[in-house]
């Protein structure tokens, strides 16, 4: 009985979301619509990083690197064949390939996930600060590779004039899928094993959790959604350059997870909305005063205050009660 009530709550939320999407698309202007798209992408990023960083406690700064991989792969696959030959020197099979957006973004996500596997195998033997430094190194390697791989990525110029495909009917379903997957993981035995690694890895090992395999899985799942988000991003901005996915972005996503509460899906969701809206609010102010970086300073200040006064974040590891059945405690 409780379970079905729970399903109803989720169904209602999903329908509410669809209604919201339909409503804003017919009422608000392009500018606000693009902000809402960004908010959606940030939600995907924060909720997926929460699987890696929040559930399993892997302090990864590599998320923008996975986004970049997903973004570039998607962009190259959807780029019109006629223009590909003008800008890029691709192998024959790739030069003649033009894919619809949806399968291209899936491939982008899969490529990001495979890269996470390759990176994870050596790096996930490291812990704590070492892991943060190693994933930071990965982010830089990705940027350098993209910058120098002229024939495929057009180097520092980046790819522009991408088809503007991303709209809320693409972003919203991915938000739903990301949240759904994260939720299913969290309240499964597998998700509990991830949380147990975060809490005390030795005790988790004593209970039969395979630390290494679970850590790699957490990184790979997070990277897949980062790759998807990268594809959405590229086709929202309609341009992609090596600097699109920087350390600043990693900082923003990590802040969302920390402020929302490491391990809390609702927390990451809400924090993603708050911070992406905040930066947009500060943008006109920055432009008028000709002082840039107010948004970043504000964000950092909020982070510091949260770390001092509420280190567990808004929600801790938990979810609000009305979303839970008795079964999922």
């Amino acid at each position: 009985m409780n379970q079905s009530r729970n399903r109803l709550v989720f169904l209602a939320l999903i329908l509410l979301g669809i209604g919201f999407v339909a409503l804003v698309r017919s009422t608000v202007n392009e500018y606000i619509l693009s902000i809402i798209n960004f908010v959606g992408i940030y939600i995907i990023l924060a909720v997926s990083l929460n699987i890696t960083n929040g559930f399993t406690g892997l302090f990864s700064l590599g998320h923008p690197g996975f986004m970049a991989i997903g973004g570039y792969v998607t962009a190259i696959l959807t780029f019109p064949v006629s223009r590909k030959s003008m800008f890029l020197e691709l192998p024959q099979w790739l030069a003649n390939l033009e894919m619809p957006f949806f399968p291209a973004s899936i491939i982008g996500g899969v490529c990001a996930a495979m890269m996470a596997l390759v990176v994870g195998l050596p790096v996930l033997r490291l812990r704590g600060h070492y892991l943060a430094v190693a994933t930071l190194g990965f982010l830089i390697i990705v940027q350098v590779l993209i910058t120098n791989w002229d024939s495929v990525t057009r180097g520092p110029l980046g790819l522009n004039g991408l088809p503007a495909i991303t709209n809320l009917w693409y972003v919203y379903p991915w938000v739903v899928v990301t949240v759904y997957v994260a939720w299913k993981i969290k309240f499964s035995s597998y998700g509990r094993s991830m949380l147990s690694i975060r809490e005390d890895d030795m005790a988790a090992q004593c209970l039969g959790v395979n630390l290494f395999r679970t850590r790699v899985a957490a990184l790979v799942i997070g990277a897949f959604f980062a790759g998807i988000a990268g594809g959405l991003w590229a086709h929202l901005v309609t341009a992609i350059t090596p600097t699109s996915f920087s350390l600043i972005l990693a900082f923003y996503i990590v802040v969302m997870v920390v402020v929302g509460g490491a391990g809390s899906i609702s927390g990451a969701f809400i924090a993603a909305i708050i911070f992406s809206v905040l930066t947009e609010i500060f943008r006109p102010l920055e432009e008028n005063l000709d002082v840039y970086g107010i948004g970043e300073i504000f964000t950092a200040a909020i982070l510091i205050l949260i770390l001092i006064y509420r280190p567990q974040g808004l929600f801790g590891s938990r979810e609000p009660g009305f979303l839970l059945t008795r079964d999922t405690q």
């Binding site: 509990r192 949380l195 809490e199 005790a203 004593c206 209970l207 039969g208 959790v209 590891s317």
Partner: protein
């Protein structure tokens, strides 16, 4: 005489550069309670960690038989999670409870390797009967429990994997005397239900009181072993570990 369940044979273990176990051998019989006692740094915890696969011995073997008629297998080279699956559950030093998760979640993680939902539920209810306080606090975070309750949670969680051999690293650490007394009574009950117990204790009085046999470890070597009542009378043991009483 019970049949041997665990036979540790001339184990040598290094932690980094430090030579922590210098050829330790010991036996645990089916249905016994065996205690390892010794001073800090004697290698007690390293011994337990080697058995449960968290440390790898440089040489030597660990033979384990998961029930009376099973073949002996050498578990000294197999990964920790497979050792759990074979029925050895290790309750680590400092309890290692997952403090931000609820009591119920902690217990369920103990059954991580088991698949049968019905059996897990029955097991869960059995553990709630052994430790009624855990049932009362099922939805509280584990970090909000008192030290004694946390120890019960750690033992209950280890039991969720339905071990044949329960390994406990200093269960009495930081607990008051009455709580320790109760805890050991519960452990004795668990043992009576067929779970073999190997435990490390600083509290040698308690350990020798409840264990069938004990080993004394000093600087990575077994220096004494025997039935606990004999060890409790031994003058050297009394001087070193029982406060000379």
């Amino acid at each position: 005489m019970e049949s041997n369940m665990l036979k540790v044979d001339d184990i040598h273990v290094y932690r980094g550069e430090t030579y922590v176990l210098q050829g330790v051998s010991l036996n645990v019989g089916q249905g016994e309670i065996v205690a390892l006692i010794g001073a800090n740094g004697a290698g007690k915890s390293s011994m337990l960690r080697t058995i449960s696969g968290l440390l790898r011995p440089k040489s030597g073997g660990i033979l384990y038989r998961h029930h009376q008629h099973a073949e002996e297998i050498d578990i000294s080279r197999i990964p920790a999670e497979q050792i759990v699956a074979l029925g050895i559950s290790h309750c680590p030093e400092g309890r290692g409870i997952f403090s931000q998760l609820s009591v119920k979640e902690n217990l369920l993680i103990g059954a991580y390797l088991r698949k049968d939902k019905n059996e897990i539920r029955q097991n869960y209810q059995r553990i709630c009967k052994i430790f009624p306080i855990l049932d009362e606090r099922a939805n509280q975070t584990a970090g909000s429990l008192s030290g004694g309750e946390q120890e019960m949670l750690a033992v209950g969680r280890a039991l969720m994997s339905r071990p044949k051999l329960l390994i406990l690293d200093e269960p009495s650490l930081g607990l008051g005397p009455i709580i320790v007394e109760n805890l050991f009574k519960v452990l004795q009950n668990i043992n009576a239900q067929g779970v073999t117990i190997l435990l490390v204790e600083q509290n040698a009085v308690m350990a020798l009181d409840y264990a069938n046999r004990a080993y004394v470890l000093e600087n990575g070597r077994v220096t004494l072993s025997g039935p606990s009542n004999e060890l409790a009378r031994d003058q050297k043991v009394r001087d070193a570990y029982l406060g000379g009483v």
